[in-house]
């Protein structure tokens, strides 16, 4: 039942594609049962997410956020930690960013303001991940359960903070005030007018830089080696001299910081204010991206673009097809996690048999 017998190209490329196709097949079945044409729906989805330049810009805009949450979940996974808390960490990251903006956006110039926002986001995200990390390292509390609890706590806490402190007097909308224009990240449509009025901004490049740093750190540095050793066999790593509890805490801090940075694209790149529930499930999508991308930089990028396309295309699809609400995207996400994560070895035995037959 193991995939060890299979060559790397099979486990890295063929199996994920087969799993993805299975998820899409079930999706097509659901769309069919809802009384719509799956092929036509798929065409609408692809057209509005990739072919149309404005749609592509939206796809990449969503992907820029997803890269960060995907990286957050991936780095923790490398150390054997299943961080389900990226949702709450990104939410708190948004708060950190907003606190920095509200404090400084009247005084600092843009070249100090934007880094301040990023530091605020990373810092708050890291702090929110620190507690579950610390509890896992020192008290043995299960990281999955604590990070789930921290998502709930984050949601209640943010509700309280936004309603009580951040809504400007006289406003009804549950959101902070709009930041000054100095805090707006440059949009790519300023340079490429074909992208139209879309929020795609320089965060895309930040995401790519983060992917490169992640790739180098994890697979080329001695620190990355220790992280992977911790994830593969905690006891062996311990005997090899790796300080496991420090490793867990540091990895969770980085994971939380990455999740927090996801807020930069959503807030400084698009809305320019903090609103209730701005994360909108991006943290959970990060889990799917990490699983599908097998924690590899290129895999994470491709999966982030895929989920960006699903978000954008699914939204357009719901506008054109009355029976397919935007929530259909959540179903597709669940199916992709199911097939690409939980059942990742579904086709491994069959594929192994097939390859063996060819060699003989």
């Amino acid at each position: 039942m193991t995939t060890n017998e299979l060559p790397r190209w099979a486990t890295g490329i063929v199996l994920p594609i087969l799993n993805l196709l299975s998820a899409l097949l079930v999706t097509a079945l659901v769309i069919h049962l809802l009384g719509e044409n799956p092929a036509e729906s798929m065409q609408i989805l692809v057209n509005s997410a990739i072919v149309n330049p404005e749609g592509l810009a939206y796809t990449l805009f969503y992907a820029s956020t997803f890269v960060f949450t995907g990286l957050a979940v991936s780095i923790a996974m490398q150390a054997g930690l299943f961080n389900i808390g990226a949702e709450g960490q990104m939410y708190l990251g948004g708060l950190g960013l907003t606190v920095a903006m509200l404090a400084f956006d009247a005084t600092l110039p843009w070249y100090l303001l934007i880094p301040a926002g990023m530091i605020g986001a990373a810092l708050f995200g890291a702090l929110w991940a620190f507690i579950p990390g610390y509890l896992q390292a020192k008290r043995g509390s299960h990281i999955v359960v604590t990070t789930i609890m921290f998502n709930f706590i984050a949601s209640s806490l943010m509700n309280f903070v936004i309603v009580k402190y951040l809504i400007p007097p006289g406003e009804q909308n549950t959101a902070s005030r709009v930041f000054s224009t100095d805090a707006e990240l440059p949009r790519l449509s300023d340079w490429f007018p074909i992208l139209g009025d879309t929020p795609l901004n320089v965060s895309l490049f930040l995401a790519i830089i983060a992917l490169v740093i992640y790739g180098v750190m994890v697979s080329r540095s001695s620190w990355g080696y220790k992280v992977r050793a911790t994830g593969l066999n905690r006891h062996a790593a311990h005997y090899a001299g790796v300080k496991i509890s420090a490793m867990i805490i540091v990895t969770m801090l980085i994971s939380g910081a990455l999740a927090g940075l996801g807020a930069v694209n959503s807030i400084m790149g698009s809305t320019h204010y903090l609103s209730l529930n701005f994360v909108g499930g991006a943290g959970f999508i990060g889990i799917a991206i990490a699983l599908m991308g097998r924690q590899q930089p290129i895999g994470i990028f491709l999966s982030a673009v895929l989920f960006g396309a699903l978000t954008q295309g699914g939204f357009d699809l719901s506008l054109e097809k009355p029976n397919i609400p935007p929530e259909m995207v959540i179903v597709i996400q669940g199916l992709i996690i199911l097939f690409c994560g939980a059942m990742e070895n579904l086709y491994a035995p069959a594929l192994a048999k097939l390859l063996k037959g060819k060699q003989a």
Partner: protein
């Protein structure tokens, strides 16, 4: 509203009414996890059975058909989880989370398709379970304390409430005093020893998942058919996760898990009662902060500051028969 208006009695009664959602799910999780399968997909199963039982109960105007349909969908999902965890030896955490996410979306999509009411079902009206009035209620209703105990605390609930509370000693008996329970615990602690003793580990785990599926469905049915009288998007609101933590809190033992469920039920009741109440010293506590209390308590429990909980040893580990 002032502090004097807080009725301890109504907090106790609503604790009793809040508990079954958690109790059914936690007892379901107990079977799955004691057999060695992590059941983080409780939330998704609760949602699915809540929607299906509400939809079927509304369509047939019969709550019992609703409950049966809820059992069916929950069992299907539990067996899917079982197939991944037991036969495929896949990642059990990921399977559960995938089911939770897929069901959160699918219940909305299907509810919207059938009822066109923004992802909720129409109100069930008469298709809800009726409340049981204990004999002699009218006679004792005016007696001060006894009247309240007889008509509100003990009586006036639906059959599912009594079933939930009766389940606790029943689960205890099955786990600790039956042959199946012994085998179940063995599979969760040391599957290789169980296997050597001639117990089918796979069969026992599938059996546990089947029971978990049935029990979990009542949780959803209770939410939709008894508590609210309709299905609403994501109406389980973390109950599956809370049930799971009640189980961790209770050290995977029925009676302590029961106490955990009561604690969460109590906080749920207090939250509703405290909304907008001026308390002495602290003043008015915002609802969002009270909402946080059970989760914070859970984290404190998980940190081992109240009690240390020890999971079944083989939990989450796929069983590979040694040759």
């Amino acid at each position: 509203m002032t502090f004097e208006d807080l009725h301890l009695g109504s907090i106790v009664v609503s604790t009793v009414r809040n508990a079954p959602v958690l109790l059914f799910a936690a007892m379901a999780g107990l079977f799955a996890e004691r057999s060695g399968v992590i059941d983080i997909g409780l939330e998704g199963k609760i949602l699915a059975s809540a929607f299906v039982s509400a939809a079927v109960a509304f369509t047939t105007q019969n709550p019992w058909y609703g409950i049966l349909a809820g059992i069916a969908i929950s069992v299907v999902l539990a067996l899917l989880q079982g197939a991944i965890a037991i036969t495929q030896k896949g990642n059990q955490l990921v399977a559960g989370i995938a089911i939770n996410i897929a069901m959160s979306g699918l219940t909305f999509v299907v509810a919207q398709y059938f009822f066109q009411q923004g992802g909720r079902t129409p109100g069930l009206g008469d298709a809800r379970l009726s409340e049981i009035v204990l004999p002699g209620s009218a006679a004792v209703a005016d007696v001060p304390v006894i009247g309240w105990i007889w008509t509100q605390l003990l009586g006036g609930h639906t059959i599912l409430v009594y079933l939930a509370f009766a389940l606790v000693p029943l689960v205890h008996w099955v786990l600790y005093h039956t042959r199946f329970g012994l085998r179940l615990r063995a599979c969760g602690e040391n599957p290789h020893a169980a296997d050597a003793a001639g117990v089918s580990v796979e069969g026992t785990r599938y059996g546990a998942m089947l029971i978990a599926g049935i029990l979990c469905s009542f949780s959803g049915a209770y939410l939709a058919i008894v508590q609210s009288g309709f299905f609403l998007r994501d109406m389980s609101a973390g109950a599956g996760y809370l049930a799971l933590t009640a189980m961790v809190f209770g050290n995977w033992r029925p009676f302590y898990t029961f106490l955990g469920c009561l604690m969460f039920g109590f906080f749920g009741a207090v939250q509703i009662q405290l909304e907008g109440v001026d308390l002495p010293v602290v003043g008015r506590i915002p609802g969002a902060l009270i909402q946080m209390v059970p989760y914070v308590v859970t984290v404190i429990v998980l940190a081992g500051l109240m009690a240390k909980s020890v999971a079944p040893k083989a939990i989450g580990v796929p069983f590979v028969k040694s040759r």
